[in-house]
Symmetry: C2
Subunit: 374 residues, 2 copies
DNA sequence: CAAGTATGCTAAAAGGTTTTATCTAAAATT
DNA sequence: AATTTTAGATAAAACCTTTTAGCATACTTG
């Protein structure tokens, strides 16, 4: 909201607009333009009403009684504020109070359904508490995340909700050292003493794998991406553990990291399934992999669940729509978001009280679907 | 980033930490805590280097030469800044300059794939230009949107990107009057002279309907929601026009607005399709409706594309994955976001130059898929 | 009646920038 | 020699709040 530097302050009670008209006309001819409405500040209110800034501020902040401002003055000020529609400048408050009431939400990719859903829940909760959310996507790229963290520090954001990228430990550590509230999610950093909210990756992977085994699979595949982040490691070890406990064969297939220009995961998976004809059960470590894998299996005419049984981590609307329906591990999105914000807000409340991290691991739900064979 | 009020400023060049140790120990015993690192301000730099704040500011902002600051001083300051890792406070800058470098993205629902994708593209573009994005979801609710706009005004956001809700005209009008840059998308407001970026709803609906007719459909259904917003009206009129030009029957089915608690669209659609057995072609006005409709058709055992041919507005990853693949109108998400930000940034540049709205209507792409009958 | 307390309000500092106007000393021009 | 220009820097205002400390005046209290 820009306004010209030449600014005529008008007392709305004592001014005759007609006096001004010829001057405005002249100014307009000179190429100036006239701002009818300058944003009114606390100072303007004080001046207009002949009281001090302090008084107005106290009244605005509900401290009138406490500060022994007379009812008469209080009413006068309140009335005027309503009249001119005054709203305090959030920026000035931020500067004064050192709080911006902004939380940053650093997702891996905000357009991904999982993160977008969480974004929605978080937004809801944050706005209720007077916080706004700035989002950004790290692409799981360390450099980018580091850069983002640094620019957000400058913005005096009040807290960080982050899906940590690889190698980000030091930046997170610094953040905590500087007393920024930080909550990680989806994955965590064993080397950093930081709050996080994650799900039972290992347990659910174990359960899902067992499910495949119970369904009679003998040759299991675990399809994942090249990553040593906790969520992937845990899913992997859940799978491995379940496999060890029974006498089935297991294959682990790690997709290379993909740039969009390279050959896609679909082709890679096609090759993989072609080369392992014996596979009769697949565990996809993410739903994205599952979507690609399902296409590959379809191309190869392996029917689900007859020839191959499939389970995916991270449920999706489509797994229920797809024919056949696909069994998947559902993460408790709403609860997760709820806990994320709860943790964040409690950290924000307890600033100065020292840092005691909260670590939450939430249970998932295995939605078994292949029995519902339509 | 809080710090205690008792703050000992240390000149990092001339202080011996050992001198301080016993005092810190004592303070700690008293319950104080010690901040190793206070955020350094421009003032600290000036004091430490024995120059004025102005000088430092000029150097930081690349105006050293212009303001005839000697190279000697410039180098000294720059070196020191690098040493202490000084970064200007964005809040203070915002206050001073009246710009927050924040754009707000008001979507109908940020967790919806369409909006989430746009959010991602917009983010990319914004960050490149030094802007951050705050998002929020209006739920297409007028009250909520109005409230959000008002709180964002206080935040001195620099611009608004909005999917307008019904009845929001006045708020948008006020926003423009107050010289906030505003760009609408997905739909627009005929009564407000405001920039927007939308797609060719009518043209594409016409084309898609024609496609159904060409494929031999004789009894067409148009499935939409109760809404008089432009995007829906245009899709509807595109359908109607195509129908009029040929001799097919047409049914328009408008779903009631749903609260989550009510009976779902699935049941409603089931009833609809049951009652109109002659329908052999369906145009869904949104992909959400299509997903629900596909399930209903599946339940009724109407095979696609044999018994019924289907087209949906707004393409989706899943339409390509579904069996059979579903024909859909693909909106140019990336281009749309690109134009959205381009418009916004140009408005931000041209502030003060008066308001000349930009109106863009982008073409879609009809992805015909039922021929690919796998 | 002196001392203390309650009442009603305000001045001024602080928070961190940017920018305008100004200042001094030296150099260049009359 | 007197005047103007330039180089090199700076003081202070402005952006808009919140909050601490304090100032009169009027009322209690011992």
């Amino acid at each position: 909201m820009p306004y010209t530097k030449i600014c005529i302050n008008l007392n709305p009670f004592s001014f005759d607009f007609n006096l001004l008209k010829p001057h405005i006309a002249l100014l307009s001819e000179w190429g100036f333009y006239f701002m009818a409405k300058k944003r009114v500040s606390i100072k303007d209110i004080a001046k207009a009403l002949g009281v001090s800034i302090t008084t107005v501020s106290f009244i605005i902040n509900g401290k009138a009684r406490e500060q022994r401002i007379s009812d008469e003055v209080t009413q006068k000020v309140k009335k005027y504020i309503k009249e001119v529609g005054y709203k305090p400048s959030h920026i000035a408050q931020s500067l004064r109070l050192g709080k911006s009431k902004i939380i940053v939400f650093m997702a891996e990719d905000i357009s991904n359904q999982f993160f977008a859903s969480i974004a929605r829940f978080i937004e809801e909760r944050a706005y209720k508490s007077g916080y706004k959310i700035i989002y950004c996507s790290t692409d799981n790229n360390f450099e980018k995340a580091k850069e983002l963290i640094s620019t957000f520090k400058r913005r005096n954001v009040d807290g960080f909700i982050i899906t940590p990228t690889p190698n980000i430990e030091e930046s997170i550590h610094d953040l905590i050292e500087e007393e920024f509230p930080v909550v990680l999610f989806d994955r965590w950093l064993p080397e950093v003493n930081c709050s996080y909210v994650i799900v039972e990756n290992k347990e659910s992977a174990y359960e899902a794998t067992q499910h495949l085994i119970e369904e009679g699979c003998k040759n299991l595949a675990f399809v994942t991406v090249e990553s040593d982040q906790t969520q992937m490691m845990d899913r992997s070890s859940g799978f491995t553990e379940a496999v060890k406990e029974s006498d089935v064969n297991a294959f682990e297939f790690r997709l290379k990291f993909h740039n969009l220009s390279e050959v896609g995961p679909y082709e890679e998976l096609l090759d993989f399934f072609k080369s392992k004809k014996e596979i009769d059960g697949v565990f996809f470590a993410t739903n994205y992999l599952a979507f690609e894998g399902l296409q590959a299996l379809d191309t190869l005419q392996r029917s689900i669940p007859h020839d191959v049984k499939v389970v995916s981590f991270d449920d999706h609307y489509f797994f229920n729509l797809y024919k056949p329906k696909i069994t998947a591990i559902e993460q408790p999105l709403e609860l997760l978001s709820e806990k994320l914000m709860e943790t964040m807000l409690s950290h924000l409340d307890e600033l100065n009280l020292g840092y005691s991290p909260v670590r939450l691991v939430l249970p998932n739900k295995l939605n078994k679907r292949e029995s519902t064979e339509n």
